[in-house]
Symmetry: C2
Subunit: 225 residues, 2 copies
DNA sequence: ATTACTAGTAGACGAGTAA
DNA sequence: TTTACTCGTCTACTAGTAA
């Protein structure tokens, strides 16, 4: 991603091209970008080529709109700014409860993992994880979380099989202590895996499709805790 | 402000150079900016020249830090992203109550202004304005407000003197209806001028130095209201 | 008005290298 | 190791202009 593309996309978004088509001439965009009409025209062609923009080239004036990919690029930059200016001690994630493959539960209950949860998070998880599919808006917050230290859960070998490393972060769901676990090699990055001392679905009376908020603690870890 | 400067400042901020000096070699910055060590070195010199950066050039490795001006430039971009992604119907401003020059009161009480307040905001302000000096963090939010329509208060002439145009936005302070008034040609942009039907200091028992929150309404204006 | 081609050029970049 | 100079290349820009 070239920075100049992000810059142009940002200005187009500010002109209203984020949710709807907006009529922006190459001259107007040139003014916004402080460049010539010709260069702005070229920039638009490049953005179309990169699939960051779609265009409806009418007779008089073109109408343009960011694509999903274009919005995603902007969101990346937005998240960088949030890391810079909103550095707080917690992040709130929202998502919908879903049923996973049951793998989470199998992994979690391995003794070496359990022992580490006990020593690092101060509780032994109930066998099983609660899977939460994050809303699109909160997906970017995962990057913020990943950039913070968290509790490292070491991997191990057993019966010739490898159990990978993971990182855990203390969290709260409806004021109940829990933790989110992020395997180092995860296929999903929009699924949050929660572990808790109790059976979350039963304790909180939640089911598939329910929307829940998870507050992830990002305060600096005290050494040896 | 060249976009490439903002890009470099952003990466430096992410590397930790926003509050403190941080050791970043020109090679490391080059990697972050996806450019050569030589170009990154040049970029740092340019940023120093523009006073966006200060440097402590030690024997082994330089230590750099953003200046106030540098942070301000980043905050501008951050505010652009907030306008894009956080488009909400209100903005909360915080600041400290201060005593102005008394000009506000003189202007406000002019009949042509008063009549417009009555017709556009549906109240006649108490004679006098409450001045609130905004916190640095919320200064950028003024840009967001300025970019929204608001109620236009027309200027007029009287006794050969010109009374300028202004824009008013409905607001609430401690749940009390009020409005902020932004003269088109204002010398201050960190001072909020509030008008209210009541005497705010007396009604809310506030005095100089008290910190107040003002919720500014940005919901789209209904036509003819 | 528009958009966007071609051609010429200024300036940004990296390689080589000094300190 | 650093930082940062010079210099040659090449890219990204604008002017002119067509459609």
């Amino acid at each position: 991603m070239d920075e100049k593309y992000a810059f142009a996309l940002r200005k187009i978004a500010l002109l209203g091209g984020i949710n709807n088509y907006v009529a922006v001439s190459s001259r107007e965009l040139g003014d916004a970008l402080d460049m010539s009409q010709q260069s702005a025209s070229k920039r638009i062609l490049e953005l179309l080529d990169e699939k960051y923009l779609v265009r409806d080239l009418g007779a008089r004036k073109q109408r343009i709109k960011l694509t999903e990919a274009g919005v995603d690029e902007l969101r990346k930059e937005y998240n960088e700014y949030r890391r810079i200016f909103e550095l707080t001690d917690h992040v709130t994630l929202r998502g919908k409860v879903v049923t996973g493959m049951g793998e989470g539960g199998y992994y979690i209950t391995q003794k070496p993992y359990m022992d580490q949860f006990q020593s690092k998070l101060n509780f032994r998880p109930f066998e099983g994880t609660l899977n939460v599919k994050l809303t699109k808006e909160d997906l970017g917050k995962m990057e913020i979380i990943k950039s913070m230290p968290g509790h490292t859960i070491d991997g191990f070998e057993k019966d010739g099989r490898t159990f990978g490393k993971a990182t855990a972060y203390k969290a709260k769901i409806q004021n109940l202590d829990c933790a989110i676990v992020m395997p180092e090699r995860s296929h999903y990055d929009d699924i949050l895996e929660l572990v808790c001392k109790y059976h979350l679905r039963r304790t909180l009376s939640i089911n598939d499709g329910d929307v829940v908020s998870v507050i992830v603690d990002l305060s600096p870890l005290s050494p040896e805790n």
